[in-house]
Subunit: 657 residues, 2 copies
Amino acid sequence: MPSSGNVYLHDIPLEEAWLRLEQALETHGLAGTLGWEDVELSEQIVGRVTAAPVWALTSSPNYHSAAMDGFALRAAAIHGAMPTSPVSLKVGKEAVYLDTGDPLPEWANVVIPVENVEALDRADEPAEDIRRPWQIRVRAALPPWSHIRPMGEDIVATQLILPTGHTIRPVDLGAIAASGHTSLRVANKPRVAILPTGTELVNIGSQVKRGEIIESNSLVLAGQVIQWGGVPRRFPIIQDDFEVILQQVQAAAEEADLILLNAGSSAGAEDYSARVIESCGQVLVHGIAVRPGHPVIIGLVRRKDGQMIPILGVPGYPVSAAITGEIFVEPLLARWTGRLPSQPVELDAIITRKVTSPAGDDDYLRVVVGKVGDRILAAPLARGAGVITSLVRADGITILPRGTQGVEAGTKVRVRLNRAQIELDRTLFAIGSHDVTLDLLAQHLSIRGRRLVSANVGSLGGLVALRRKEAHLAGCHLLDPSTGTYNLSAIRQYLPDESVRLYGWVGREQGLIVAHGNPKGIKGLSDLTRAGITFVNRQRGAGTRILLDYQFDNLGISAEHVEGYEQEEYTHLAVAAAVASGRADCGLGIPAAAQALGLDFVPLYHEQYDLVFPLEFADTELFAPLFDLMQDADFKREVSALPGYDISRMGNLIIEL
Amino acid sequence: MPSSGNVYLHDIPLEEAWLRLEQALETHGLAGTLGWEDVELSEQIVGRVTAAPVWALTSSPNYHSAAMDGFALRAAAIHGAMPTSPVSLKVGKEAVYLDTGDPLPEWANVVIPVENVEALDRADEPAEDIRRPWQIRVRAALPPWSHIRPMGEDIVATQLILPTGHTIRPVDLGAIAASGHTSLRVANKPRVAILPTGTELVNIGSQVKRGEIIESNSLVLAGQVIQWGGVPRRFPIIQDDFEVILQQVQAAAEEADLILLNAGSSAGAEDYSARVIESCGQVLVHGIAVRPGHPVIIGLVRRKDGQMIPILGVPGYPVSAAITGEIFVEPLLARWTGRLPSQPVELDAIITRKVTSPAGDDDYLRVVVGKVGDRILAAPLARGAGVITSLVRADGITILPRGTQGVEAGTKVRVRLNRAQIELDRTLFAIGSHDVTLDLLAQHLSIRGRRLVSANVGSLGGLVALRRKEAHLAGCHLLDPSTGTYNLSAIRQYLPDESVRLYGWVGREQGLIVAHGNPKGIKGLSDLTRAGITFVNRQRGAGTRILLDYQFDNLGISAEHVEGYEQEEYTHLAVAAAVASGRADCGLGIPAAAQALGLDFVPLYHEQYDLVFPLEFADTELFAPLFDLMQDADFKREVSALPGYDISRMGNLIIEL
């Protein structure tokens, strides 16, 4: 095994990495399409890419035909026909009935629609079957070629039907068939081998032990390959063993056009990818200045016959892996099939909060996007490279380029959308406090044709977002200690000039989330100053944090005596997760979050969680399904089945300001 | 067989047709999804639609892990460490090396990155393997939980991963797997039986005889069904025979959720669809006020077990068939799989020419779309329901609603785009004269990442379009009889205030396209006044028409003595097709069109066909590939291989005005 001393991870800009890859592809004859095959014309070829232009072999239609149901005749025969001086023609000799599409007899040059003739029998009586009369009487002339579908109307032989590099759609099939083709020359589908490596990995469906991870990157990468027109082959999980990885890479090289070697691409003790590639080929790039995703390897491996084929060392973090697919695999498959790389729709949006970014890297920030009034807004999602749900939730990507250290809230940024722009019109953009019922709401709104996108910034943050016109609604639970009421004082204070409505949503309990069985016997906030008790807090501006600080004041508890007070999480579930993992002994939150993770709960307070809307949205079509749900018995039943929820005020208009 | 007297075709508005269908679906328990199945998690399920919300079963990661390669330790142990007062820790007891992703020991609460420690051996010398030193020296403190990826960072058990009705993308697979699922509940794929009927139909690959048509609608419909998430089954071609059709419909009903009975939906002599449906079910709608597409039938047929299932009588014209798919099949499959119906991107565009429309119908006008400067333009394509190439070429559909009789040129219309809006940015919008080399140019531009969209309105029409800023370029061959030069006078006359460049494109022959063997011995324009000679003309404003009229003047030929002078076609190929079909004996045109259809050609004139661009586009990135091609030896060789073409002036700047 080569020494690890050869392996350096040195980030280079994405463009330079692509340049090196392109040069290598040129050198090894892999810069163009990977050959073609002739496939039989069938509905299965939708999505394939033409490898040659499709020129019409025949004309279509290849004869003149009736464009309407009617009688074919010579235009000259009815020349001069008028309402007052009709012309009569014998059927069979001078006129022939045709259904739409029937070929025109060679002697005829016009079709007169059946509804414009009098169909008569021998005795001048109306014919029994208007399609088989003895004669017809016509009271208007027609220019030649009227109501005839001429030969070649659709397709004239030799015309271009489809260019090279065209991705086949259903309608194309009709034109290809009609122009005389029975098969189509399409680009070969690139074969992509996906090799998951890592001793910590276990297959989907395994009972996951501590230190193990479900192997799911190969699934994501395989799905991407299919979507982009390749054929994936997922290899079984490979242990972190240099020789075994090498052997599998060499086996894959014989049957693939591209190898994706997942994880082991960094420079840790068990990161064998770069060494494996060096030992059977060549490392071109190790590290790109893109986050998440930087420990990418680009290399070549040699087949037995001497041909080199490209290999990508794909980072192990799921977001990095998926973004590596987008950055490298998609353009590579586009090039190899001869189509244009996909070009995401881009739009300008206003970023809703400040983001810092490493100056040396292109930073791929995942954002949710909503349209509030006329403004398009982008709210940044979790940054971690491990947070695959940030990609699932993302409506788009904002790239903060190298050389910038971040953006301030309110800055205009460019967003690459990964959903149809039209979906923004049915998106409810909620910024504010987090509550478990919002997930349930999202699910029910989804069935009703609305998308609920929520950014969790706490109750105060939500009111600020409404003031800045950056949200459609805000969930809010802000206690006014002087009155004991919720939300009213805060709205008056933070939204003094806005017309808003406050609707009741849920009443809910707040209390301490503690480990199962409450082993440390925590009974209330006073226990937080005890030695050996670690707390996990919510972020500033969260209603729960305000409640905590208020109760600390009441009880005379000083924050500096509470271990963990400075550990901040953004959601109730994140607080519960901190307790479940033993990182903290307790945190203030809601019982649903404790129940979700099998934890115990010490109820302390009852509070009101409400929804605030600007008046301008309250009566819109966009909001209608939300109002329907607030009155929907099934939905209310599901909410009240969650622990600690009271729905008695749901849907009540508390105040309009 | 029931009498045809029962069958009436009576167009009703689309909304009313949908309403009747919806009521029938409700009545027969078919208004919702068609059941679900649990499918194993794999890359093959991309595109399936969730039939239940996906809630997380487990958290991910389910343990704390190192977020970087480094040493796990207690934050308290390095409290106070500074560059000048380092802290040393024994590896094994107080510090443990971890690769990224390794689980954190229970006693540790921080990871210090490997690059931030001094790894030393017993003798205080740098350790041989920095991952296995005897001790480490640390010169900076870290807050607890630094560089740790906490449990539940990505997914907390019970959170909503995906709602019902979500179409699975590759990244979703990762989140579904990571949240503990091994399978997914998805909506059943609706089964759609497609029954092509018609005695005139022949299978793809048949030698097509007069009166026969290649059956290709079933292919288009099957491709649509796949694209929209159903499973198509194409039946063999069925002859126009009531009993046979009935039997096949009944067989299809037993195994399908929807039947598409293609053609026979009108009220002609052999249109059996409505009668077949009546005899084994019920006709709900016969005729919708949509063009093309109006003779649609909506009905129900009864299975042996009594269950009714929907059937659509789909019109036979290919455009009508494809549009019927979009109007009825897509929304129906959306509903049955629980996803939202697809919502095309819409934009406003300016229509480039006047269009008349039947007032009683919603008129689905196919348009090509281009962006010229800041303006988005829509040029209408051929109207015929038989012209499938109009759907292939279409960038979108403009619906001229019932109650309007058309739109004037320059009117703003709403276009439903069927390609990505971003593609408009790489579209060259050519309006003007038609030449066969434009097809070749389109093919070569396509490989170079440009789309050439051309609307054939004749040379004068092209100059008018440039004046109106409705085109990027115009092909032009306008003779100035007084000087014998081409194009210069016309540009000066029609574009007096525009800055344009005129580039040489091709020299080409014009002459008479005649039948193979020239059976009528046509030698020149003087023959056109002979008895028994029928001519086919080009439209007014076409350069070829201007040339003809000019030569008629020279030769003293009066148009009224030319039979067929009033028959106008818009392209050279259409003129050739008219001759090939025997509709005309000759037409003025170019030799390439004659050759395409195996016709003879009588050369008469040599003319210059040039390209005109507004100056503002000439140096843009958009045009660069066009200029490259004008210098490209391979491209020029292909052009000069076409009959009658001279490329000596291609790419020459003739004048800048």
